[in-house]
Symmetry: C3
Subunit: 296 residues, 3 copies
């Protein structure tokens, strides 16, 4: 068999509150997925590989991407000592190097995922070069073809790992939008501290060009099979009164490497014109959640 | 590999007749499916498991649920000596405990499936508790969250097995609809006799609240690799002249445990205002079928 | 495990030109697919088997068939010394026996696939009989049920293989459309030469019934891991000035049996009213491509 099947079902039961609406009980998907991957040794240090990755709503069985079934990944890659070349669709390296990396409590999924990180998250029609790892550094350089219908996009990710210290840089440009973020993460015994700062810029047409900052700080304390998490982020206002803050407190209990049960409380606080997470100006969001995550 | 692939392709060629329309030749799907499942031993009697199950039209290749790809199941479960807790989507326990259990000739699929059984068949956003089996009894207690958009639903199933006798009870409530059914099944050498009786109730708004009964009786005679089936059901009228009867005569030849070829003749007889199976008042349905069912 | 997973990711980067439009860079899918198949030995020379085959756009992750997920195949089959009987959906045998067979450079996929071959390519609701192979001959006889909504279709394929010589015949009829094609292919050491000639007929309603011819000639020269390809086809005009020519020059480098990298240049030349490949009268198409094909 030259194919490996893998995936994750991550489902929680939550008490959610949107603005002044009635609190409601929700069975919530947290980026559940199913993947097929494989690689072939071609000799001479060459390797071919592929990945197909599907996102699904574990609460209803619906495909997250509708008819874009492989909405998380569909790529083929050739790699050797020179690095790797990849064609197709996958998530931006800039995202994995920054926002995803420090969202430790629940893999940056579900209602407690990072609501503030600025991105166009362009994933289709990509061609990338992956460098080999040299002195702890590795990089991914991507171009997404616009194919004369959408705007061409560029994405750069750099990761650096040395002992307990891990850093990353992400850069993304699509049309009038650009963002750059820097991430650091440090392991001190049972404590892990991480964070990123991001600078984003968008030419909002008539509204005019604006810059804004986003940052996040997150910490984890590990005690046996338990993990205690704290996570705070802030997006500055872009035009006026449209910023937001996000706070999450979480607890994970690892039943095994593959399976955990968890609970968290999360809140997004929008300024009067902020629309983060809820999509409605000034509407806040909070949720109290308990869930199961099972990797297979 | 922590994942098991399994499925069933069940396809028949049928001569179907709807009311007074011309008889037509149809290549017919009978609830074909593809599933991924797995479980992990967590030690201490604990077990995590998951299931993803997709329904497909084997005659055209279309997903039965459209973009709800995993329209049959997508759940994660944690179980121990205390029983099991399951989150996500799957078919109602009340259905498996009753109507499905006695539909022996073709797994309650296709044109000869039970057309009369009353159910809202709610499957999304469920949280359930499964009891351990005690003295032959086991039960499933489910709540489906309405999430402030649909009506909350409840479902209870009880199964009892002792030697050749098998019984079940199903209860379902969604908004103004409730149904309760009791099933029995007895094995006497090569003969198996089963049946259920159901009481359903619906508040039809202006039309007013109504109760009605449904029942079914089914028998199988096994001779070597051959099975002979007979199956009769009746739904009483709800308001007036809207009841129906259903009769199926079937023959299965088991080429192996996994593969059978089969034939059946089935008929749904609607009263003048009955719309069972056909959806059109008073329109009857019949089909003569030959098919292949292959489990993998 | 009674299921085999298999598939192909085939993605290219192309510089494409449609008529007088600006040349554009495109990441292009070339009929990527994912399949599940299996068979069961039933004893006495009998065998049951099934296939589910999904087409995907490797550049975007979209399902090629939308909600018709298994748009390439979903069938179940029973076979023995008498031949095989198959029910469900799959590509026409007439196509594999002719156009597909001689499109050697990239499996008749992507922008260099045969744009001229005349077919209705009907695949749903099929019942087929496959003959055993006798004296090098084998045949597939298919009927696709119209189910009173679409027109019934018939498809016949005959293949003949003896030593280095391979021939095929395809016949297809759907309503007012019929086509018949004959294919030959000869292996002479490192050289392979193949081609087909096709006669198609359509009753275009008011426009009146018309016949037309299509032909293609293709050659391959193999040198170690390298393959050099040349491929030319022509569709005669049907009514007036609506014919086309197609030329492809290709190079494949086989990194292994499963993985190749390749390049090609392809061009479709439409007459003033021809709409082959582009769908726009008189619009030509050309592409310069480099790609990776990985089988798994």
């Amino acid at each position: 068999q030259s194919v490996t099947l893998w995936g994750r079902i991550n489902t929680s039961v939550e008490s959610q509150k949107f603005g002044t609406q009635d609190r409601k009980i929700v069975v919530q998907n947290n980026s559940s997925r199913l993947g097929f991957k494989g690689s072939e040794d071609l000799g001479g240090g060459l390797k071919a590989s592929f990945s197909l990755e599907h996102g699904l709503n574990s609460d209803t069985g619906a495909a997250t991407g509708g008819t874009t079934f492989w909405n998380r990944a569909s790529w083929v890659q050739l790699e050797g000592s020179f690095g790797g070349v990849r064609l197709g669709k996958w998530f931006p390296g800039s995202y994995f190097a920054t926002a995803d990396y420090v969202s430790m409590h629940n893999h940056d999924t579900g209602t407690s995922s990072d609501a503030l990180y600025a991105t166009q998250f362009y994933t289709n029609n990509k061609v990338s070069y992956f460098t080999p790892t040299v002195a702890g550094f590795s990089a991914e350089l991507s171009v997404a073809a616009g194919e004369n219908t959408t705007t061409r996009a560029e994405d750069i990710a750099v990761n650096y790992d040395v002992g307990p210290f891990h850093a990353g840089l992400g850069y993304e440009k699509k049309g009038d939008f650009t963002q750059v973020a820097v991430r650091g993460l440090y392991e001190i015994g049972p404590v892990v501290i991480g964070g990123y700062i991001q600078r984003a810029e968008n030419s909002f047409g008539a509204a005019g060009k604006k810059d804004w900052n986003v940052w996040r700080l997150s910490g984890m304390y590990v005690m046996g099979q338990s993990e205690f998490h704290l996570n705070f982020g802030k997006a500055d206002q872009i035009i006026a009164d449209d910023g937001a803050k996000q706070l999450t407190v979480g607890y994970n209990y690892n039943l095994s490497k593959r399976t955990k049960i968890y609970g968290f409380w999360t809140k997004v606080d929008n300024q009067t014109k902020g629309t983060y997470f809820t999509g409605a100006a000034g509407q806040d969001f909070s949720s109290l959640a308990a869930g199961i995550r099972h990797n297979f």
